[in-house]
């Protein structure tokens, strides 16, 4: 198929510059195929990268796979970032859309049908070659492919799967592939995608079904959660199979992820975090991403007017997400009916500590791991360091400082070998809060204020 596509374009555009690429077929090794790539690809690449950039996920972690003979690439379990864009976000995968044509008209999306913007479509061969050539130069870890919905979800999904299949079977590519599962795609296609992709994802985008219906009338929760459960079933079945047969195929070994837009609708942090917490209960869900709403369609009056994306709120949500995943917090401890929103001034862990002074001070030399994790200023690494080192002798404040514990914060919440007692209980939570929150000299970003939604 790749050969015929290439020869067609050869006949049509003989003036284009020729690039020889050796394509290996699984059964017939080393057939040389000539494919054209030229400046027109640059324009497409620009358009389709612009369209894909609002997807947050770019991680390449979760799969460890070494190269196979005659193939290219491997996957490192911890993920590798190859570059960082000027907004400070990691570039690990070639994050791109197959096409930005779309039949839907979702209010929050830049690629909505009613937007007047340049549209482009990659051919499967172009995209596959781009991925391989970028990979060979160590620019990327692999491909993150998404797409606007053209014709119908299945048609679009089938083309996404074809790219992944070509990469894996024709080019024997062992790098990372993240495929977006198109909402509403059929079970068969999701199952096929899972065989070639490392990670699959379906974006929830709006954490509440009513708001979703308002902003994206053509979508519903059903179309999002159905593919999610297909993926989950695929992952579980494959895990079961692999217990019986060692070489049974892996299904999306890096699990699935999803994304929610923050600040486009009236949901509180409690709504958002409760949904993510429920999602993390599912066995295959690895990451929930939060994306501060960037006003891309300012003319649409269903959306709020923001001076700037709610970056601080987004950051606090990520911190809360970390507490859920790595710090053994329950979602009710972070947000509940009394505190439906996260504190923008202090981080969620400190905020919990200030609300629960009765849990402190924690004795560094005696407390168990769960309690060490709850001390502001002690992270997962430091908690583990403390745990192993205190077997050799009691730890003092100077040692803790050298180990990398943030004593500026932790001093109010711990006792250790010789630390003077001036903890949160002597000082009162309110004064600890003022000691640790933003310095008055530094100007607060007034663009980050909370936006009030009318009910």
């Amino acid at each position: 198929m790749a050969v015929s596509a290439a020869t067609c374009s050869l006949e049509k555009h003989p003036e284009r510059r020729k690039i020889l690429i050796f394509v290996r077929y699984t059964d017939r090794p080393f057939i040389s195929v000539s494919i054209y790539m030229d400046e027109s690809v640059i324009d497409k690449l620009k358009i389709l990268a612009e369209s894909a950039k609002y997807d947050v996920s770019c991680s390449s972690s979760g799969t460890t796979r070494s190269n196979q003979k005659g193939g290219i690439g491997n996957a490192a379990g911890w993920g590798i970032c190859h570059s960082f864009a000027e907004d400070g976000r990691c570039i690990s995968l070639l994050k791109i859309m197959l096409t930005n044509h779309c039949i839907y008209d979702c209010a929050y999306c830049i690629n909505r049908r009613s937007n007047d913007l340049k549209r482009a479509t990659f051919s499967v061969t172009e995209l596959v070659n781009l991925t391989i050539e970028f990979y060979r130069r160590n620019y990327i870890e692999g491909l993150f492919l998404s797409s606007g919905v053209v014709r119908n979800p299945d048609y679009t999904m089938e083309r996404l799967v074809r790219v992944a299949k070509d990469l894996r079977l024709v080019h024997r590519f062992n790098g990372y592939i993240h495929l977006k599962s198109i909402p509403g795609a059929s079970r068969e296609l999701v199952n096929e995608a899972g065989l070639y992709a490392d990670r699959l994802s379906v974006n929830i985008e709006i954490p509440n079904e009513k708001s979703l219906q308002l902003l994206a009338p053509e979508k519903d929760f059903q179309s999002v959660f159905k593919p999610m459960s297909y993926i989950q079933q695929g992952v579980l079945e494959s895990a079961e199979e692999r217990k019986k047969y060692r070489y049974a195929p892996r299904f999306a070994p890096a699990g699935q992820s999803t994304q929610m837009i923050v600040g486009a609708t009236a949901e509180t942090d409690k709504d958002i975090l409760q949904l993510s917490s429920a999602l993390y209960q599912r066995p295959s869900m690895k990451r929930v991403y939060y994306s501060g709403y960037i006003p891309v369609n300012t003319y649409d009056n269903r959306l709020p007017v923001l001076k700037q994306a709610p970056l601080v709120r987004e950051n606090r949500l990520y911190q809360a997400d970390w507490l859920l995943r790595f710090y053994q917090f329950k979602v009710d401890e972070i947000v509940n009916d009394a505190y439906p929103d996260l504190d923008l001034e202090v981080d969620p862990k400190l905020s919990w500590a200030l609300r629960n002074p009765q849990a402190f001070p924690v004795d560094i030399n005696r407390a168990d791991y769960e309690m060490l994790l709850r001390v502001p200023g002690i992270g997962v690494k430091s908690a583990k360091l403390i745990l192993v080192s205190r077997r050799y002798g009691r730890l003092g404040a100077s040692q803790l400082k050298k180990m990398g514990i943030v004593m500026k914060k932790a001093q109010y919440f711990i006792t250790c070998n010789e630390l003077p007692v001036r903890t949160i209980n002597e000082l009162s939570p309110l004064s600890v809060r003022s000691l640790l929150s933003r310095k008055p000299g530094r100007k607060a970003d007034d663009r980050q204020q909370v936006i009030q939604f009318e009910e």
Partner: protein, 255 residues
């Protein structure tokens, strides 16, 4: 003050450990051959690196420390920091003198310091894996150059050998003037007598580049520009993740 003079190799250091325990006198200073001695020293001992002694010390260490901790010591050696030999010497001495393994006692300043140096070197290794950029030469070899802070090239070779098994590549350390070349079979250490332009600048001359190389470089630059969200530009974070010292050799940051 006791001064040991040795050949500044890891084997030399292990021999020094052997001799120190044999002589029951431990050095306050480790110097390279030919380095100026301090004004006052009670004793100057010259160490002759001896494979048999190295072997015995290493075997002894294997009984005292885990394989991970031993690997950690070699990684720290690659940091090439000025006082790293004395630090490792103290660490090894403590390991031998202790009944049980000392490797997890982070309350001890030397153990903590070794783990910190290890972290720094590993970080630099990871940076090299992330930020090396290959340019395809006319003969099909992929050339990439960098100036890592520490001598991490030996640590990254395995990764690239597995990943790019079907392409010839040369990774060159400009600071230490040596490279590793993979010829589809195995990796060899290479040094060049006459330095061509790209071995000094790290960037391939247009004449040496493969025909399609410029195109893919331009594609990558265009992608890099397009993927940034204008509303979220954050130069501080950008520089924190991708320090300016790497920019010279990063395709997307050139021109």
């Amino acid at each position: 003050m006791v001064v040991y003079v040795y050949d500044k190799t890891f084997d030399g250091l292990l021999t020094a450990v052997f001799d120190a325990f044999a002589r029951k006198s431990f050095p306050d200073l480790l110097l390279a051959e030919g380095e100026a001695l301090p004004l006052f020293c009670d004793e100057v001992v010259t160490i002759c690196t001896d494979d048999a002694k190295v072997e015995r010390v290493w075997k002894g260490l294997q009984k005292k420390l885990s394989a991970t901790a031993l690997h950690c010591l070699t990684v720290c050696w690659l940091s090439e920091l000025p006082d790293i030999d004395l630090l490792l010497f103290r660490y090894i001495k403590k390991a031998f003198n202790s009944q049980s393994s000392i490797e997890l006692n982070f309350g001890d300043p030397d153990v903590l310091e070794v783990s910190k140096v290890w972290r720094k070197v590993s970080h630099e290794k990871h940076r090299m894996i992330e930020f090396i950029r290959f340019q395809k030469a006319e003969d099909g070899t992929f050339f990439g150059a960098m100036e890592p802070l520490y001598n991490v090239l030996p640590l990254v070779v395995g990764h690239f050998k597995d990943r790019f098994a079907d392409q010839k590549w040369l990774i060159y350390d400009l600071k230490r003037a040596y490279g590793c070349y993979y010829d589809l079979q195995e990796v060899r250490e290479v040094r060049f007598d006459s330095k061509e332009e790209h071995l000094l600048s790290g960037i391939l001359n247009d004449k040496l580049m493969a025909e399609d190389e410029k195109l893919f470089q331009n594609l990558w630059k265009a992608y890099f520009k397009a993927i940034a969200i204008k509303e979220r530009i954050n130069p501080k974070l950008h520089k924190q993740h991708m320090p300016v010292r790497f920019w010279k050799y990063l395709t997307e940051k050139q021109g």
